[in-house]
Amino acid sequence: MEKKLLIEVEALHKTIDGEHVLKGVNLSVLEGGLMAIIGKSGGGKSVLIKHLTGLMKPDSGRVLIDGVDITRLGMRELNEVRKSFGVLFQSGALFDYMTVYENISFPLRERLKLRESDIRPRVFEALRDVDLQGTEDKYPSELSGGMKKRAALARAIITNPSIVFFDEPTTGLDPILKHSIHTLIKDNHARYGFTGIIVSHEIPDIFYVASSIALLHDGVVALSGTSRDMVDSKIPEVRAFVHSNPNLVMT
């Protein structure tokens, strides 16, 4: 059976403080796919993910989630769409006045309105999944960078969302932790089958995690395809980024 397009971005434009950050981004993600959006720092990847999650409104263009243009929705309708989202923020965005347990249980308690007897086993299972047993009573300030990311990952996927956004999930982590986070994302994707978008500039690691890659360059998607397509591409911008050779852009 052919998979449907779950996320579509059409001619997205955004100018922030006079800078034209997104210059007509086009993108599509198949249901169940795991797409990585790569590009240099400050290239608009996080701005794009803010549009995909409805946190920013574009100047023009559309963002379709399962056929619904979320750029035109009011708060109530947007929240209906967001019920299928899980988001791992770049900073983790754990609530610093709550413990790890309270953070991970927050969406279950507040959004799904589950009872404490149903919440507890799910939180402990999530903590086991991300290898954070024994940290449930700690506050985010007591955790290392990698532990914060894993706690945030557990919170992002605990409601079994159908779409998960990962905004630079491995930034600032050492190579071992990066590998562990990438493995967690891949394993959880295989287990739960969500559609995922990972914003990253971890080359080549991300090629082993994502099923498709899109390179955001100069405000547009320069190439979208598999990791093989990226490596074999003759487009200078793609080659420069993938092979980390800035001189290739000049030639």
Partner: protein, 265 residues
């Protein structure tokens, strides 16, 4: 010849538009807060936490300032009233000044300095560390978690803190007037009940309720809107928002005091 004038008008116009836009955003923020205030469910645990933070933690500073405000007032009034042979009005004078004006204003300014600034900083940090965005993408309304508990806590706490300030201030005035300056205890309290009256107590309560709205409105808005102007999105933006919140709240409290006072004169 025209060019310098054009630049000046352009700068004035740009600043005016920016100022009006800011006012509009603040107005919408207040409107949203009031709308959500009448739309339960409320987050009771967060409200209790904020009552503890805004109320209980402000108690020491309110008692201290209340006592000294009453003592200073009593000292100044005593020497003025003595010139007119009206020392018997010392108690009612202290009570009236505290209940009508000083109690609500001082309490609101103290809560702004101690609790309001912390609110702005906390909400500002939540904003720059994407915690507010995290609530948004969970399909929840951040107002219910970040703004409303503070709003409700302030509406509960400020009248109570004002009452404590007034009572402590009256006894501070008693200490100076009766124990230090030799006014009779009976004289100090004798006419207080007749002269102060319920309408003045009500006015104090109205003022403290209005100031509760002003403090939470301004402080929460400043924190919530960190990063929405040219100050950037980092620690400096939070620091500027905190300063702005304290200054704006204090000015608005005094403006509000005059406006409410002029209606109930």
């Amino acid at each position: 010849m025209i060019r310098p004038f054009k630049a000046i008008f352009k700068a004035i116009g740009s600043e005016s538009v920016s100022f009006l836009r800011g006012l509009g955003k603040m107005g919408i923020f207040l409107f949203d807060t009031i709308v959500y205030f009448f739309a339960p469910p409320y987050k009771h645990n967060l409200i209790v936490r904020q009552i503890w933070f805004l109320g209980n933690k402000s108690l020491t500073v309110i008692i201290m300032t209340g006592a000294f405000a009453g003592m200073v007032l009593s000292l100044q009034l005593f020497y003025t009233l003595r010139k007119f042979g009206a020392v018997s009005l010392l108690g009612p004078g202290v009570a009236l000044s505290l209940i009508r004006e000083l109690g609500p204003v001082f309490t609101a300014i103290m809560v702004t300095g101690r609790g309001g600034s912390a609110l702005t900083a906390e909400i500002g940090i939540m904003r720059i560390s994407e915690q507010i965005d995290a609530i948004h993408v969970m399909a929840l309304n951040p107002f219910n978690y970040v703004v409303l508990p503070n709003f409700i806590a302030a509406v509960i706490c400020l009248p109570l803190l004002t009452a404590i300030f007034d009572v402590v201030g009256i006894y501070g005035g008693y200490l100076v007037g009766v124990k230090l300056l030799g006014v009779s205890s009976g004289v100090y309290f004798a006419q207080m009940r007749q002269i102060v009256g319920m309408e003045n107590i009500n006015l104090g309560i109205y003022k403290s309720l209005a100031f509760a709205v002003i403090v939470t409105w301004v402080c929460c808005y400043k924190g919530y809107s960190v990063g929405s102007d040219s100050t950037g999105f980092g620690a400096r933006a939070v620091s500027k928002a905190t300063t702005d919140a304290v200054v704006s709240s204090s000015v608005l409290i005094l403006v509000g005091d005059y406006i409410i006072g002029s209606f109930f004169i």
